[in-house]
């Protein structure tokens, strides 16, 4: 930063309100408003060669973004993120002027005739933005990437008991990239042949927290261009236009998931996804509670979905199976696990494969033409009595 001082001691920039609102919204997601370190409740706002630079971090996840601005000075300040966010959302005019008085350490934000003064924290206390790793691992269209993330992240474990299950494992191989998540009761696997990026070493993986990926998905979901995935020993970065998301990789070994994917199945049923989802939703009312169990039974070309809550009552629904192979079969599983999968998919048809009463149900695209450069596979472990 240079020593150049504007005449009146103030340092002002002007930027577009819509761009600012969007940028602040993006960066705010990394700010921990409940952090015990007060400085982390702030958002770093500074002028730079690439425009106005905004940063938020909770030390685990850091997000930075740049927006164009016309500047007549330079400044660096840390404003309480919650106030700043609320302020920019309410500004009346398209043009926003941000002014900074370094002596008083006060930011002046104005738009039209509205004006706010807000105290800055000491910018010297703000943590340095983590170094963005420069080894490129993958280049993937934003919209697709968001789709892959949404298709896997819900299977990651919520509880912190086993941190290595709280993320999505991104495995890079010659044929493509696999995204896998599991909470040990169910598993999501997306296999894509999109392999642009750096030379890929076979079967190396990154274990990225579900929270980070949710933020990435939010940022890239409407972005046509390519998102870059970069990684170092313990950090991963996602670059999307003028925004960088950097996060610590989860430590620990992701389980050997390929071992638990059954190679064979006994019964396969090709079913309309929407119809099954509606049926499961209908019957799950009679599940004991949010973790309620339901029964799926395939008899000839009819799938019966049923639930029984002894203290409440029973429910049953039947749907037609488009194509069935193998013997009749039955399985009990948690309704929510099945609904989660059916909700996240957009495909018209899915295949349901039974592999036994104590081995997982498989949901995939067997016998379905999708035309997408991705394959998906979901496993749901059944519920059993008296084991």
């Amino acid at each position: 930063m240079s020593d150049k001082e504007p005449v009146d001691g103030h340092k002002a920039i002007s930027c577009d309100r819509e761009l600012l609102v969007k940028a602040v919204g993006t960066v705010y997601r990394a700010v921990s408003t409940r952090s015990t370190l007060p400085i982390l409740q702030g958002m770093l706002i500074e002028t730079s060669d690439q425009g106005l630079h905004l940063v938020g971090t909770d030390l685990e996840l850091s997000i930075e973004t740049y927006i164009p601005c016309t500047s007549s000075g330079e400044f660096k300040m840390v404003l309480p993120a919650r106030y700043f966010t609320e302020i920019v959302r309410r500004l009346p005019k398209k043009e926003v002027i941000i002014d900074y008085n370094p002596e008083k350490r006060v930011a002046i934000i104005s738009s039209g005739r509205a004006i706010y003064e807000i105290n800055s924290m000491d910018p010297r206390e703000y943590p340095l933005f983590p170094e963005v790793p420069d080894t490129s691992w993958w280049k993937v269209p934003g919209i697709k990437f968001a789709d892959f993330i949404k298709g896997t992240v819900f299977c990651a474990a919520m509880e912190e008991t086993r941190p290595f299950l709280t993320g999505v494992f991104m495995e890079f191989g010659k044929e493509g990239v696999k995204l896998v998540a599991t909470d040990s009761f169910r598993l999501a696997l997306i296999n894509t042949s999109l392999t642009d990026g750096a030379p890929i070493e076979t079967n190396k993986g990154l274990l990225v927290s579900a929270r980070t990926l949710n933020e990435v998905a939010r940022i890239v979901q409407s972005f046509d261009g390519e998102v870059g995935v970069y990684a170092s020993e313990n950090q991963v970065a996602f670059k999307c236009e003028d925004t960088n998301v950097v996060s610590r990789l989860i430590e620990g070994q992701f389980p050997n998931y390929s071992r638990v994917i059954p190679e064979e199945y006994s019964t396969l049923a090709l079913i309309e996804r929407e119809t099954l989802l509606e049926s499961v939703d209908r019957v799950s009312i009679m599940g004991k509670d949010e973790f309620g169990t339901m029964r799926l039974s395939i008899v000839d070309d009819v799938l019966t979905v049923s639930a029984n809550a002894p203290e409440v009552g029973k429910a049953e629904d039947q749907i037609a199976i488009e194509k069935v192979s193998g013997p009749n079969g039955e399985i009990a599983l948690k309704a929510r696990y099945l609904m989660d999968v059916l909700k996240v998919l957009e495909d018209e048809k899915i295949s349901l494969k039974l592999t036994g009463t104590v081995s997982p149900v498989i949901i995939d695209q067997a016998g379905v033409e999708s035309g997408e450069p991705k394959e998906f596979l979901y496993l749901i472990m059944p519920v059993t009595l008296n084991v």
Binding site: M158, E160, T182, F185, L187, P360, L379, M381, T384, N386
Partner: protein
Amino acid sequence: MNSSKPVIIHIDMDAFFASVEQQANPELRGKPVIVCGDSGDRGVVAAASYEARRFGVRSAMPIREAKRLCPRVILVKGRHSYYGEISKRLLELYRNYTPSVEPFSIDEAFLNVAGCERLYGSPENIAYMIKAKVKNCFGLTCSAGIAPNKFLAKMASNMNKPDGLTIIQSDNIKTTIWPLPIRRLYGVGEKTARVLKSLGINTIGEMAEMPIELFIEKLGETGRVLHNLACGIDNSPVDPNIWDIPKSIGHETTLREDSLNIDTILIHILSLSQQVGRRLRQQGLLGRTIMIKLRYSNFATLTRANTFPHFTCLDEDIYETAKNLFISAWDHLRKIRLIGVTVTNLSAKDDFMRQLALFEKDKRRERVTAAIDNLRNKFGENAVTRASLIKPGTKSKGGGVIES
């Protein structure tokens, strides 16, 4: 066999914990003894011997108060697993006389002896036989109450303590329980007593003679139940299986001194989680809701709970959840006096819908836990413990926090 009218015997051990200790250690016999918890001086009286009660010492009284009333009192640290063991053996003794035995607490039980007369004589005779057996086998005394229902039997056993035997018949309730103060009615606490007193009711008899509608209006369903009891009506059966699945399993501990040290507190949470996990597994139970209780120096108390998607009985699951609950509940400012960890939403392992897991890892965690439990069963609670629960230069004890 029990198709005839029930004949209930309620057996209530006299000063159970204290008597057990006096029996185990002859030097304590005939002396005022109080049994206290782990927190020693800072805790409350868990049980007082009759010698101590003569000085006005009562259960749940702060130890300091007890010491003030009776400076010669001898403090003995409670051994709950030992009392539990004796309690179990007492129940076995009762079951020699009737299969219909319902444990009511660690030192109380209801027996339905209807139909046993041909074998053992009158109910009174059975009660005498049990009292003599308890005295011979355990060196302990108990008080028995005989009545046509559980409520009256419990009232009866309490009438001539210690070592009493009291019979209440439906036709003598007017002379036996009606003159008693309303507070003695089972289920009437301080608050209810206040409500009843505001209605001008001071004795059980006064309640019985008022119309039931009044109490339903004032106290709802409780009012109906209490009025019935006051009239000597109680149709609840003796249920030998009532305690098969407890509502919750929990442990709590008062810290040696109020603390702001998160490490100390977490170690206590770990220790409590382990004790709770062990008890769940001993009883073949799984639980889904983990609850913590915090009490601050000023005695303000709060509880927080979290419900798991799956049932568990593993120490790690309980600890991780309890730890996270504590971390998000505590403000780091208020000193902690007491911590409790409880698992509720229990289910028996046997009749249980079980979510299967994909990876061996979970099965491995269960196997490790089972191995540790086996070692403890064989060599005692301290055969194995976590390194973080051991303080340097101390001996291990109790499976709890080990302090010098």
